[in-house]
């Protein structure tokens, strides 16, 4: 979910930065009552040499390269919105401009708070994120669902990149890890794996596959 916001942010505001590899990791620790914590890490350190060079430029191919100040401002907006979102608390963010790693984390009172947050950020970034990334949790059946609906907007942005730059996205990954108090009974995404202690589900997908609609992030996880 947060991945979407940050991904959209990087895709639309700094396509130049995407000409190299990066990692986005979304972690959700979900309690049985539906509350929990989320942490999103955007790691561009694999491309730090290029990112460092690009950030010295103002524009590349007409696309604005965000400055350190721009990025700090965006992260500040995200955390401000998070703090104001009903059901969200303990908001933290960090930016490391040596290794180019950004981290945003917060606690949520229930799974709906995450969806409210997605809607709030959708409005802030004027996107339709909330249309295609929705979470639900049924405490009774202990089922977490993530509904993912493919949006072609990302592919349109991707098509603006030169083929050689698109290729370099082959080393960009999105990972989500959901951890639970109870063991996982079933999970329905073939790309995802269940941990050996059965209390976590991880999916790692290539960003290019996600943008092109080849990787589906949807999942329904039922707990024991």
């Amino acid at each position: 979910m947060l991945k979407k916001i940050l991904f959209y942010f990087f895709l639309t505001c700094s396509t130049g930065l995407m000409t190299s590899c990066f990692d986005i990791v979304e972690e959700i620790d979900l309690k049985s009552n539906g509350s929990g914590a989320i942490k999103v890490t955007v790691n561009l350190s694999k491309s730090r040499t290029k990112v460092s060079s690009l950030m010295k430029l103002d524009k590349v191919d007409g696309l604005k390269i965000p400055s350190e100040r721009d990025i700090r401002s965006e992260i500040s907006k995200i955390t401000t919105t998070l703090k104001k979102t009903n059901g969200i608390s303990n908001v933290h963010s960090s930016l490391d401009f040596t290794n180019y790693i950004a981290v945003v984390s917060c606690d949520f009172r229930n799974i709906n708070a995450l969806n409210t947050f997605v809607k709030t950020l959708s409005a802030q970034f004027k996107t339709s994120l909330s249309d295609y990334s929705i979470y639900s949790y049924d405490a009774k059946s202990k089922t977490l669902s993530r509904t993912y609906k493919y949006n072609s907007a990302g592919q349109k942005e991707l098509n603006k990149l030169k083929p050689e730059n698109q290729k370099s996205l082959q080393n960009a990954y999105f990972t989500y890890i959901y951890r639970f108090e109870h063991t996982v009974a079933t999970q329905k995404n073939s790309l995802a794996k269940v941990s050996s202690n059965k209390k976590a589900v991880m999916l790692k997908a290539n960003v290019l596959d996600i943008v092109n609609g080849k990787a589906n992030l949807s999942n329904t996880i039922t707990l024991n």
């Binding site: 130049g16 000409t19 990692d23 990791v25 790691n43 350190s45 694999k46 730090r48 040499t49 290029k50 460092s52 060079s53 690009l54 524009k59 590349v60 191919d61 007409g62 500040s76 401009f97 040596t98 290794n99 180019y100 790693i101 050689e164 730059n165 990972t175 890890i177 951890r179 941990s195 050996s196 202690n197 209390k199 976590a200 589900v201 991880m202």
Partner: protein, 660 residues
């Protein structure tokens, strides 16, 4: 036609119209602070007339000023393209004039252009056109087109007695404005610089009066720790900052600007009358160095100090450049607390030499500084450096500033430069300079860092770069790990001579003890701290030379005496014969950018694609020659056109084609 566009157009055609040069240079006032000479014949000689007209047509030059229904030529403008034209500047502490003198070839043709939609007045018996605010004037006769404009000097008009004399208002004291009651403004010009301004007739625009106390209250009221934009927004949201406030502020500025325009317009006319009547004398032709047939443009400034002092009277750096000269009896007598930089005349010119274009300059200094600079700046660098100027060089910068001579000269330079700017503390400045002189052992420091440097950009190298990755355990708990990968990075090498490396040896030892450095090869060290680009830096001291580089392989070659590269003779000559040289091997840039995968904007792609046809770009200085510091910037254009100027026009033409 707008007068400002015509001026711009004439400026463009200056490039293309020699010489009865003396005719017009004699009309340049004797006290001009700068004179720019446009050698129009040189432009015409180097340019193909048809191509020139075609290019000017493409950029819409003729459309703006001539009937666009037919083919036109630059000759149709009526300007004499075989004589030199001049732009000059002169003035006083209250106004700086910029004037232009263009040779006339065909008055009828010229008048056909200017009379299309301009109001022509007869002033000083000359047909004249003014700009809308009357601060720019153009007049002409059978031989010359004159332009004159004026720049009001803020430092003069900010003086209380001046404001009072001309009825100018302070935009921080709005009560003045409220008290001003008037209907019209009239200014009478008696003679040079003397006016009687009646400001009592200014319309009463606003009734809102805000005192300074009220403004202070506004500023103090919002001391909240929040984002700076929030602070600005919150202040602007207050009533005191509503539209009325800005309307009043704007009204006062417009009132002052209107008055200044009237005053400047009057001064302009007086100056103009003096100019055409010959009362301003004639600029000495001896001041301008002989202009060759290859020189396109020449600039001569009598005294850089006087010019900057006049233009930037308020600026503590540039304005002060002029103070010394003013102390020596020039126009600005009031500036007596002057630092002294010793700069005198400046000559610069642009020449076309085959397919190269060269900008050369000569900056004069006083005798003492010339002596000091001769001792400081020396030609050439350590001969051992030259081997690194090999065929793979993408760019290099060499400079030799003798540390010992510099440190010896520094106290007297500080004392001369700054004791006058702080007259009350001049004894302390002198004392500080003396202490500096006594405490420093210039010879010892000069041995540690001799002052000769060479920085070479040698293309690309593969370097191990660290990055942060994640490893997951079987329960998908992850930990951050540092991994490495090979990356293509620009390879640089910086070297400087040291006859006494004990301090560097000690620094390395401290670096090793504190784990800032690690020894990767005998005598070769890696800086442990990695910057944000991830580039690893290595250093070593070898045979009295300190090397710093990001190329481990080359550093290992140096450490094991395996350097077998040889300097390219032309690069070695540039480094050897100059005190400073910056050279770019332009041909290699496209490949470099491609290998680095640096994205280029569409507008740059074409230009970068052509760079492999260019020769070198260089900026060099042989240092002090005679009593002046000389420098030269030169670029070798592709040989696809007959000369550099034709190539430049071709680039403009092609750019316009793309735009169309």
């Amino acid at each position: 036609m707008k007068i400002k566009f015509l001026l711009l157009s004439l400026g463009l055609t200056l490039g293309v119209s020699t010489s009865n040069a003396q005719d017009l240079i004699r009309k340049v006032p004797a006290n001009a602070k700068f004179v720019v000479t446009f050698n129009n014949k040189a432009f015409l000689t180097h340019l193909n007339a048809n191509e020139l007209n075609s290019t000017l047509s493409k950029i819409g030059f003729f459309d703006k000023i001539l009937d666009n229904n037919s083919d036109h030529s630059i000759d149709d403008l009526g300007i004499d393209l075989n004589n030199k034209a001049y732009v000059y500047g002169n003035g006083t502490d209250s106004i700086q004039y910029v004037g232009g003198l263009f040779p006339m070839a065909n008055r009828k043709q010229f008048e056909a252009i200017v009379t299309k939609d301009s109001k022509i007045e007869i002033v000083d018996n000359l047909p004249t056109i003014y700009s809308e605010d009357r601060t720019l004037r153009m007049s002409w006769d059978d031989n010359t087109i004159y332009f004159l404009t004026g720049l009001s000097m803020g430092s003069y008009f900010d003086k209380e007695e001046v404001k009072e004399r001309y009825g100018l208002l302070s935009n921080y004291d709005y009560s003045d404005w409220a008290e001003a009651e008037a209907d019209t403004v009239s200014v009478e010009f008696d003679e040079w610089g003397e006016f009687v301004v009646d400001s009592t007739s200014v319309a009463d625009i606003s009734e809102v009066v805000i005192s300074e106390d009220e403004l202070n209250e506004v500023e103090m009221a919002d001391e909240i720790d929040q984002d700076e934009y929030d602070i600005v927004d919150s202040v602007l949201a207050q009533d005191e900052y509503a539209d009325d406030y800005y309307l009043q502020y704007d009204s006062i500025n417009r009132h002052n600007d209107s008055l200044k325009n009237v005053i400047i317009g009057g001064w302009l006319n007086t100056e103009f009358s003096h100019l055409i009547s010959g009362n301003l004398g004639s600029y000495s032709t001896k001041k301008i160095k002989p202009i060759s047939s290859n020189t396109l443009i020449n600039l001569h400034i009598d005294s850089l100090g006087v010019l900057f002092g006049a233009l930037y009277t308020d600026n503590p750096i540039w304005g002060n450049l002029g103070y010394y000269q003013s102390m020596m009896g020039d126009v600005n007598q009031e500036y007596t607390n002057a630092p002294y930089y010793g700069m005198e005349s400046l000559d610069a010119q642009i020449d076309v030499i085959g397919n190269s274009m060269k900008l050369s300059s000569t900056l004069g200094f006083d005798k003492k500084l010339v002596k000091q600079y001769k001792e400081i700046y020396r030609k050439g660098v350590n001969p051992k450096f030259y081997n690194f100027l090999d065929k793979d060089v993408v760019a290099f910068f060499s400079v030799n500033a003798n540390t010992e001579a510099y440190l010896k000269a520094l106290p007297s330079m500080i004392s001369r430069n700054y004791s006058t700017i702080f007259p009350y503390y001049n004894d302390f400045v002198d004392l500080g300079a003396s202490i500096f002189e006594v405490l420093l052992d210039e010879k010892a420091i000069g041995k540690v860092y001799k002052g000769d440097n060479l920085l070479v950009l040698n293309g690309l190298t593969k370097s191990e770069v660290e990055y942060t990755d994640y490893e997951y355990d079987e329960d998908y708990n992850y930990t951050e790990v540092v991994k490495t990968k090979m990356e293509t990075i620009p390879q640089f090498m910086w070297m400087f001579s040291s006859d006494d490396t004990r301090i560097f040896d000690r620094m390395i030892q401290v670096g090793l003890n504190r784990e800032y450095l690690e020894e990767v090869y005998s005598g070769l060290y890696r800086v442990v701290e990695v910057n944000s680009s991830g580039i690893q830096i290595y250093l070593q001291i070898k045979d009295g030379i300190v090397f710093v580089s990001d190329d481990l392989m080359k550093m290992q070659d140096i450490a094991s005496n395996k350097v077998n590269t040889k300097g390219v003779p032309k690069y070695v000559a540039l480094a050897k014969n100059n005190v400073a040289a910056l050279v770019v091997n332009t041909k290699r840039i496209p490949v470099l950018l491609k290998e680095l995968d640096i994205p280029l904007s569409d507008s740059l792609k074409g230009f970068v694609g052509e760079l492999n046809q260019y020769g070198d770009f260089s900026i060099i200085s042989p240092g002090i020659v005679g009593n002046a510091f000389k420098s030269e910037a030169k670029i070798d254009f592709p040989k696809s056109k007959a000369n550099a100027l034709q190539y430049l026009f071709d680039v403009i033409s092609r750019k316009q084609n793309i735009a169309d």
